[in-house]
């Protein structure tokens, strides 16, 4: 073979290895060496078949390399791993490809965010999606950008909405067939939420589902007057997908203004809801609203995880969620029918959930000018931090903040692009909250075990066939728990607050763990 032909062959081989196909995404669970999509698989399990690191070997787990990104701000990314590289996003429109062996930077993407952004929660980003030879991410100013996975070169960038009106974007996109599904943020600024689908090749928008119905559309009757125009319902956490049903499951956030419900009488559809959308059209198949007429900022953006459970002797295609309002829910994902709900933390705002899935609300729990004590507090319960389901233990793992807060409200006029929550909240100094990692039996809603923590943990979850659950905490510990018992087996102080979820993959046949901690990415493997 001539040298030129050899180099062309190598180039082709490198190119082929840099691609992710739709079929690979559908079969992502069976490819343990990689991490190809936000939730590990379309169902959102964050479970790996890798078992080299297990309850017996965990004591030999040690750091392998650390990459310091140099970007300040909250690192919440779920890295993708394929083709010998790790692809991760960071705050303030940064992204990197790292060499999987060494952590060395292969390329760095950066676009300076525009001045004058209106944001509730910083310039963080939660990750890439990948298809073919492209990577997709949102930028904070509510654009969707496609990068060449080999070089980080921008292939196209499309505006999703006008950031000057308070729209931003932070979540990892989801690839479904040839579409890039992406959500937005900004419910705190009187925006109107949506979920978008874009053609992965051209960047053209294929469909949009507005999470707040407009005048003349079903559901607008749940908004007093014209309050739907500033109704919030943002979509800032990645959804899941059932290829058999061809349905996308995506969650929605709080109504606007967050804590003054008087100006938006009604249930305020489709805020604080799970919507099931037909993947090809974005048409609403069904919805389920967890917290109608929310006044406590309890976004329903927690992972909608797709598992099959047995109820009354019948196998049900379910979607489960640990909702921020303090209840764990199971729904039939074919039709949205409510199956059951159970409290997983202290709840004072409702006495339970009725047979139709509607909360039985305790009167007098709305925010007031002088403050109303409500449990859970503003952060939940559980909030957006990624959850995990292990088919090995058949348990669902998530973190919970356990405590109460004071909720205040005031009257506030709407001004485009400006803060529109009409509210604030405060801790109760004498009642510091604690935290828990829960292992939930998703067929019953009963916790199997709890790992108590001194404070609420912002880390996400990973479960593995090694019988382990990995998570991080706010003090910087990466922690491994026995997936069956919750017993802590290993911990490592990373030196930076952990807000991101751990992932796992293999390199040269050896299992690795990776986590964003502080402003670094830290990887781990077993020592001999």
């Amino acid at each position: 073979m001539k040298p030129a032909a050899i180099s062309m062959t190598l180039l082709f081989a490198a190119f082929a290895a840099s691609t992710v196909t739709e079929q690979q995404l559908r079969e992502a669970q069976s490819d343990s060496a990689t991490w190809l999509t936000y939730g590990k698989n379309y169902l959102g399990w964050r479970y790996s078949e890798l078992a080299e690191i297990n309850t017996r070997t965990i004591s030999r787990l040690a750091p392998r390399w650390i990459h310091q990104t140099g970007a300040s701000g909250s690192h919440e990314t779920t890295p993708l791993v394929f083709a010998g590289r790790m692809f991760l996003t960071g705050p303030s429109n940064n992204a990197w490809a790292l060499d999987l062996l060494t952590g060395k930077e292969v390329w760095h993407y950066h676009k300076a965010p525009p001045a004058g952004l209106s944001m509730c929660c910083g310039e963080q980003n939660r990750g890439f999606a990948a298809l073919d030879d492209k990577l997709f991410k949102v930028n904070i100013e509510a654009t969707l950008v496609a990068l060449d996975a080999r070089s980080g070169t921008v292939l196209w960038e499309r505006p999703m909405a006008d950031y000057k009106k308070g729209y931003t974007a932070t979540g990892a996109p989801l690839i479904v067939k040839n579409k890039v599904i992406a959500g937005m943020a900004g419910a705190e600024f009187g925006t109107r939420g949506f979920i978008d689908a874009y053609d992965a090749s051209t960047g053209e928008r294929v469909w949009r589902f507005n999470t707040i119905p407009a005048k003349g559309e079903p559901g607008v009757e749940t908004w007093a007057g014209d309050s739907w125009q500033h109704g919030g319902g943002s979509t800032w956490v990645t959804g899941t997908y059932d290829p058999e049903l061809n349905l996308i499951y995506w969650t929605t956030a709080n109504p606007g203004p967050g804590m003054d419900g008087d100006v938006r009488a009604g249930d305020n559809l489709y805020t604080n809801s799970l919507v099931a959308l037909e993947a090809d059209t974005g048409k609403l198949k069904w919805y389920f609203q967890f917290t109608p007429h929310d006044t406590h900022d309890w976004d329903a953006v927690e992972d909608p995880v797709l598992i099959d459970i047995v109820r009354q002797g019948r196998k049900v295609k379910a979607v489960v969620q640990a909702n921020r309002n303090g209840f764990f829910y199971a729904l039939d994902r074919t039709n949205g029918q409510f199956l059951f709900a159970s409290p997983y933390t202290k709840i004072t705002w409702a006495t339970g959930i009725d047979a139709n899935g509607r909360p039985i609300v305790v009167p007098g729990m709305d925010p007031t000018e002088t403050g109303t004590k409500v449990c859970p507090g503003l952060g939940g319960g559980h909030t957006w931090h990624p959850t995990s389901y292990s088919p090995q233990t058949q348990l669902f793992y998530f973190n919970s903040a356990d405590g109460c807060q004071l909720f205040y409200r005031n009257k506030q006029e709407f001004h485009e692009g400006q803060w529109y929550q009409a509210s604030t909240e405060a801790a109760i100094p004498s009642e510091p909250p604690t935290g828990t990692v829960l292992a939930m039996d998703p067929t019953s809603g009963n916790p199997r075990w709890r790992f108590e923590m001194v404070s609420p943990s912002p880390g996400g979850m990973l479960s593995t066939a090694g019988g382990l659950v990995f998570t991080g905490d706010g003090e910087g510990y990466l922690i491994a728990l026995d997936a069956n018992t919750g017993k802590p087996l290993w911990h490592f102080q990373t030196g930076g607050e952990i807000i991101a979820p751990p992932i796992t993959y293999s390199l040269n046949g050896k299992q690795q763990i990776a986590i964003a901690a502080g402003t670094s990415i830290v990887t781990f493997a077993l020592t001999p």
Binding site: G122, T370, W419, S430, V454, Y477
Partner: protein
Amino acid sequence: MRISLTAACTGRYSLRLQHRWIALIVTSAACFAQTSQNPLAGDPNAAAGGGAAFRPYCTPCHGIRGEGGRGPDLTRGVYSAGDKDSDLFNVIANGVPGTDMAAFADQFREEDIWRIVAFVRSLARHDMAPMAGDRAAGEKLFWGKGGCSACHVVNGKGGRLGPELSRIGRERSLAFLRESVLTPSADVQPEFATITAVKRDGTKIVGIGSLDNFTVQITDAAGNYYSFERSDLASSTRELKSLMPDEYGRSLTAAEIDGLLAYLVSLRGVEAAR
């Protein structure tokens, strides 16, 4: 009423840490008043509008009537950051570094901040009686019989187990200081919570420090520093309870307490250059 060009603001954005339990409002905005007088000073509705915003955002620290608490008493008509309207604007907009006063430049428009300034002005009572206590006696008590200086620093001198008090008169209301002297555990900052470690041999170590899911660090009253893996201990706990004795209400006379409070209120720190 829309006001133009009364403040210069840059880098406006806020960070609400929703992943943390306490939804802190942290901001990098800088927003400074360009006029020393409140442009809404003649607007009779301004104070009422400011009061509506004051209640949810400010009362957790300053009290429902501005009487103070963890934050300063605003009814005294004397403000630690300066007495001009623009000083109040700048404090509300940008916060006070090194204190609990957060920045609100991204929560409120400029005119709303001026309305809050108008409301704060309306709270001021100018008929307040001077402090009843004997400041000099209080100072002597603080550094002597009261034993306060064993744990509190004032202007570089004193112990380190309790909060520094060099400018406590600016930061806390009189009522809050009284409560802190008489019932120290009523409102304890987390960094001054009581940490207790019991070793397997029964030795108990008590102090302040930190306790996480796996380790504990303690500085005791003698200044000794300890650090343990919690799994190596018989027990380790953190209580939101002050190490300060709660007996001053009994061991000191009313006049002595008034004197001590007069001394604490007088601690204003070094004037920041403005």
